[in-house]
Structure formats: structure tokens, C-alpha cells
């Protein structure tokens, strides 16, 4: 779950990380009074979970409250990378003397969190990592012991010679880790970490991605979820025990298991078709799940054919077939449907489907090809 800048900054502030005293607003008139409150000049920043806001015109400087109002008016409603801006953050402008980067993420290879820091802040850190990796300092973090002060200082003194700046930065690093650990983040990033002209150090931007697996520990953070329209649909699927990601192809897929679901998308593409989605219904044969899954597929206007690909493992094929039949009784659709069913109790399962008028195949590639052909026909009709 990605937090927006204003949310991440709030968590940072709670941890004691200095940030501008900004105010999040949803209208231009509010932006004007926010600018009055924080004092001008202010920076109006689009709150969207997308990089490149600045280039897209989503960040504007305003010298007066009235200007803030006009800037907010221009930004609100703007579309950045397919996302409509609904919120802006009104931050008091600061005088920047230098831009740095610090971030904590999970190093999958080392299986531990790692902190990255760089004197090349304010720009895309992945670009820095790719172009000049030597500009990034890495500091492993022992997940049981956390980032210790001496480790932070080792890194901070590589960024700053000045004692005050180095110690302020080290302190922010430790707090960034504490925040990361406290909310179970998978990413916590300050870019830029700004050195101001008065020598103080400030988190000018903020990014936090939370570990979905850990949300059960942080019910209060669940309230921070501000899903985009497409995420809304995925979230609704999650509530029904489904894992769904919408794509823009024609073949709606329903599969048990994430790996098999990806393989299904791949085989469709491999055979010249286009998958409309990733959809993992998991291991259960519950008809309710299948009903919701079907609803998701038929609600996608791009879908021209549905391919259901089930490998009965522990879940027996006859159970799955019964679930499918119950689901198909509830969801009426004219979309052509191909069912592939194999694995434990395969024959019993096929019989149940065949009694319902569906001739299931046992062959994944064949099933995919059939679905592609049916979609092509439907598209031509």
C-alpha cells in the first residue's frame, strides 16, 4: 500500500523527522487559506502516487495566497500518469542549499532491510543507481537490531563534513528506520533530503510503501488507504479473497494460483492473444469466490472471451466444478467461455461440467488457443 506524500510526511513528523509544516487540501479556496496559515511563499504539490509530478506541472511555487489559490486550481483535476489529482499539499517554501537522498528498502538478496544514501538527491534514484552506482552508499540493517546510531553516523559523515549537519542527518536516518520498522514498511524514502541555507536538514518529500502482509498489525494505517479507481477494483477483489490486476487485453482469465495465473497470461500472449487481467482465485473451490471472479471479468468491457484454468491439486476438481456450476448459474453472460480442468478427480469434475453443458479441456495450451479464437470471432461479429 503506497502512501501519499502528505500521509508519509505525517508519519515522519510523528517519528520526529523534520518536514515542512504543510497542509493538505482538496480545493483551491482551502489552498489559499492554507497558504495564509503557513506563510508565503508556498509550494503547491499534487498528491498522486506517481513519479515525475514536477515535469507534469503538478508542483508550483506561489508567492501569495491568491497565487496559491490559482496554482491549486490549476493542479487539482489535472491528470498525471492516468491519475486525476484530487489533493494538493501546501508546503511553506524553503531555501535549499543542497539535495540529498536517503531511503530504506528490503534487500531481497540479503534478506534484510538496507539503507541507501546519496549526495545526489532530488533526482530519480534508480537513474543514479544505474548511471553512477558509486554515488550511492549502502548500509545493511540487521532487522533484529535495527539501524544503530553509529551506523547512521558512518553514512552521514560521508555525506557531510560538518558535524551539525552530519549528526542531524544521522538522527533522521535512525528515525527513518524507526518509522520503517514501526509501520512495517517495504520502502521509506526521503528524496530530497534538503540542506537549507540556514544549515538545517529537512525531509522535503516523503514516500512510504507499506507491507500488505503486515496491515493486520496496523489497522489505524488502513484508514490511510486512498485507492485510485483501478486499485479500488483490486481492493474489492482482495476483500473476496481474490487477487486481481486489470490489464487491457481481451481474454479474461480466472486461474487458481498466482504462478499458474501468470503462466496463463503468458501462454495467451505467446499464442498471439492478449490477457485482460491477472486473476488468482486461490486454492478454495468456494462458489462465492468464483461468482465474484466472474463478476470482475464480465464487468471489464474489453473482455471478449473468458478462459478458466484450474489445476485441481489439494482442491479436488469435482469440488471446483461444482463451484463453477453454481457460479455460472448466478452470473449470466454471453461471453464465450473456455474451461480447462485437470488434476485430482479430473474425470468427476469434467462430468459435472459436461452435465451443465460445458465441455472442459484438460490442456492448458489448447484451452488458451480456443479462447483466443473465440475472442477473435466475437470481435469480428
Amino acid at each position: 500500500m503506497k502512501l501519499e506524500e502528505f500521509q508519509a510526511k505525517k508519519l515522519f513528523r510523528e517519528q520526529g523527522i523534520p518536514t515542512p509544516a504543510g497542509i493538505m487540501v482538496t480545493s483551491a479556496i482551502e489552498a489559499e487559506s492554507a497558504a495564509q496559515e503557513t506563510g508565503c511563499p508556498v509550494v503547491i504539490k499534487a498528491q498522486v502516487q506517481a513519479g515525475g509530478r514536477g515535469k507534469a506541472g503538478g508542483v508550483k511555487l506561489a508567492e501569495t495566497p491568491a497565487e496559491a489559490r490559482r496554482a491549486a486550481d490549476a493542479i487539482l483535476g489535472m491528470t498525471i500518469k492516468d491519475l486525476v489529482v484530487q489533493r494538493v499539499l501546501v508546503d511553506p517554501a524553503v531555501s535549499i542549499a543542497g539535495e540529498y537522498y536517503i531511503g530504506i528498502t528490503i534487500d531481497r538478496r540479503k534478506k534484510i532491510p538496507v539503507m541507501m544514501a546519496s549526495a545526489s538527491g532530488g533526482v530519480d534514484i534508480e537513474k543514479v543507481a544505474a548511471d553512477s552506482p558509486e554515488k550511492i552508499i549502502f548500509q545493511d540493517i540487521n532487522p533484529e537490531r535495527g539501524l544503530r546510531s553509529f551506523e547512521a553516523k558512518q553514512v552521514a559523515f560521508l555525506l557531510f563534513d560538518d558535524k551539525k549537519k552530519a549528526l542531524a542527518t544521522a538522527s533522521i536516518m535512525v528515525k527513518l528506520w524507526e518509522c520503517f520498522r514501526k509501520v512495517d514498511a517495504s520502502l521509506a524514502e526521503i528524496n530530497p533530503l534538503a540542506e537549507l541555507s540556514d544549515g538545517s536538514i529537512l525531509a522535503l518529500d516523503a514516500k512510504i510503501v507499506l507491507d500488505e502482509n503486515a496491515m493486520y498489525k496496523h489497522l489505524e494505517l488502513e484508514e490511510l488507504r486512498l485507492p485510485t479507481p483501478s486499485e479500488e477494483k483490486e481492493l474489492e477483489a482482495t476483500r473476496h479473497g481474490l487477487s486481481y490486476v486489470q490489464l487491457d487485453g481481451e481474454i479474461g482469465c480466472m486461474v487458481n494460483g498466482a504462478g499458474l495465473a501468470m503462466a496463463t497470461m503468458d501462454i495467451i500472449k505467446h499464442l498471439g492473444g492478449t490477457p485482460a487481467n491477472f486473476l488468482d482465485i486461490g486454492g478454495s473451490s468456494s462458489p462465492e469466490k468464483v461468482v465474484h471472479a466472474m463478476e470482475l471479468l464480465v464487468s471489464d468491457e474489453n473482455v471478449k472471451a473468458i478462459f478458466i484454468n484450474v489445476f485441481g491439486g489439494i482442491t479436488r476438481c469435482d469440488d471446483v466444478a461444482n463451484g463453477l456450476v453454481k457460479a455460472l448459474e448466478q452470473i449470466k453472460t454471453d461471453l464465450p467461455l473456455v474451461v480447462r480442468l485437470t488434476g485430482t478427480n479430473e474425470e468427476e469434475g469434467r462430468k459435472i461440467l459436461s452435465d451443465f453443458g460445458i465441455r472442459a479441456t484438460g490442456d492448458m495450451t489448447g484451452g488458451a488457443l480456443k479462447a483466443i479464437n473465440l475472442a477473435a470471432k466475437g470481435g469480428g461479429s
Binding site: 538478496r109 534478506k111 532491510p113 512495517d184 502482509n213 499458474l260 501468470m262 500472449k269 488468482d280 492448458m364
Partner: protein, 289 residues
């Protein structure tokens, strides 16, 4: 022979709720030597002929269990894994899905100290056909044979194994490593074991988007593995930044894409299959089936 588990491996089951109890039964039916169960409050009872204990320590003390399979729900799974490892098991298989990543990271620190290996979490387990299965894989599709299978997923493993078996290629040991960003053993750990396993003649690596484990495996194979290895990577059509079911199946950065993985595998001399059928074909070429 096989790796990690065989018919003598003494297995305990932690978490005897609906799933744990069901799969304990399935494992026994497959031939797994289940010697104990652990479920707080069920101590002193019996299930399917094996004794149940309140704590992992008691179970190990009483039954010399050496491997534990975890069905405990995510909020309690970290504790259960640590309990198993501290009690003295040397292999823990965590089926549980949804354990927070940082918690797994901490668990691995402690398990490394204790010398306990972890399969998973979010793993379907592993199986040495004809010997033992520890986890939730459907035993029926497996057949004893020369192919080691290492995969990041469940049903896709079954799909692959099913076609291998149908084509006459049985398996030495098949492993579902788990679909989370941080997992215990990885390709290289299993590859090393399979390389030294007398029964294994070829290995299939089933990978997916996210992370760079497949790239690490490619380098490791080139350097250390003499047996033929075949690759297969899913998620070619996955968009970046989206989690494809598995917590770990998400493209972040260039190295996480399927294309990058396929390229590196091929660069290191490992043939990569485009489809499951293709895997069988490649294995057949290697083993002359």
C-alpha cells in the same frame, strides 16, 4: 535418494486447525512419517495416531521430530517458526501465507544462528516422490524419477510436474520455495543439494517476476552445477509495480522483469522454456527421454 526429506524424516505439524489437520492426514496417507502435532491446548490428545503437544519444545523432546511444517495463521507464524527452530528441528517448512516481510527477515537471522533451514514462507512445501511429502502438494501427480524441480509457486509447480510425469520424467525432489519477497532457502541452496544428490539427473527452475533470484541461480549454475538445468519464467505480460498474487511477484526495477531473467539465464547457458510443454521438451533433450 532425494534432498532434505525422505521416508525416515520425522515430521511434526504445527497448527492443527482445519488446514493443518487435513494436510496432516494427507501427508500420512502419502507415507510421510508424521510423529507429532503441536497445538496449544490440544496437548495430550491424539490425531490420526500421532500425539499432540502444547508446545514445539515438548513435541521435539518427546518424539525427536527433526522437521516441522507450519500451518499456523500469519499473526502467530513467526512465533511458531521460532519455536520449532529453538526446539531443535533442523528443517522448517512454512506453508503460512501473509507473514510480514520484516518479521521473516528477523526470523532468518535467528534460524541462521540455530542452523535451522527454512522452506517458505508462503510455500506449498516439498516432496520427495515415493518417500515423503511435507506441505500441501497433491501427491498423486508426482512420480519418483531423475528431475529436481525448484519453483516459486504452487499450482504452476503442479502443472509442470504433471506434464513431466505424463511424459515419463519422474522427480527426485520438487520444492515450492515460497512466493514471498524474503524466503528461507533459495534456488542456489536447493541447486547445491540437488547437484550432490545421486538420484537427480536434471533440474527445472520455475521462476517468476520480482527480485533477482533467477539471475543469482544462473550465475550459480554456471559456476557450480554440472547437471543439466532448464529454466522457465512466468510473468512476461505483467505490468511493473503491480503485485501479481504472490507478495514477491512484483516488478520493481529492471532486474525484476521476466525478460531480464530469461536473458540472464540464457546468457549463462541455461535453456529457457516458453511454455510448460517446452520444459518437457527441453528436459527430454537433456535426458534423452
Amino acid at each position: 535418494m532425494s534432498i532434505l526429506i525422505n521416508k525416515h524424516t520425522r515430521v511434526m505439524v504445527q497448527g492443527l486447525g482445519r488446514d493443518g489437520s487435513f494436510h496432516a492426514k494427507e501427508m500420512i496417507a502419502y507415507g510421510t512419517s508424521i510423529v507429532a502435532g503441536v497445538h496449544p491446548g490440544k496437548g495430550g490428545t491424539h490425531l490420526e495416531g500421532f500425539p499432540v503437544f502444547n508446545t514445539a519444545q515438548e513435541a521435539v523432546d518427546e518424539t525427536d521430530a527433526e522437521c516441522s511444517v507450519i500451518f499456523v495463521p500469519a499473526p502467530f507464524a513467526e512465533d511458531a517458526i521460532l519455536a520449532a527452530a529453538n526446539a531443535g528441528t533442523n528443517l522448517v517448512v512454512a506453508v503460512t501465507e501473509g507473514i510480514p516481510v520484516l518479521d521473516v527477515s528477523g526470523v532468518l537471522m535467528e534460524l541462521n544462528e540455530l542452523g535451522t533451514r527454512l522452506v517458505g514462507p508462503n510455500s506449498p512445501g516439498l516432496i520427495s516422490p515415493g518417500e515423503s511429502k511435507v506441505g500441501i502438494m497433491p501427491g498423486g501427480i508426482f512420480k519418483r524419477g531423475p528431475v529436481g524441480v525448484i519453483s516459486r509457486s504452487g499450482t504452476l509447480t503442479y502443472e509442470v510436474v504433471n506434464q513431466l510425469t505424463a511424459a515419463g520424467f519422474g522427480q527426485s525432489t520438487a520444492i515450492g520455495m515460497g512466493g514471498d519477497p524474503i524466503i528461507g532457502m533459495k534456488y542456489n541452496d536447493y541447486l547445491e543439494l540437488l547437484e550432490n544428490d545421486g538420484d537427480t539427473e536434471a533440474v527445472v527452475i520455475v521462476g517468476e517476476i520480482g527480485g533477482s533470484d533467477e539471475q543469482d541461480a544462473a550465475a550459480f549454475v554456471k559456476e557450480h552445477i554440472t547437471k543439466p538445468v532448464v529454466g522457465y519464467i512466468v510473468g512476461r505480460s505483467a505490468p511493473p509495480g503491480k503485485r501479481m498474487g504472490h507478495a514477491g511477484a512484483i516488478v520493481e526495477g529492471a532486474s525484476g522483469t521476466a525478460a531480464a531473467k530469461v536473458e540472464v539465464l540464457r546468457d549463462h547457458g541455461i535453456p529457457v522454456a516458453d511454455t510448460v510443454e517446452h520444459i518437457v521438451k527441453l528436459i527430454s533433450e537433456k535426458l534423452g527421454g
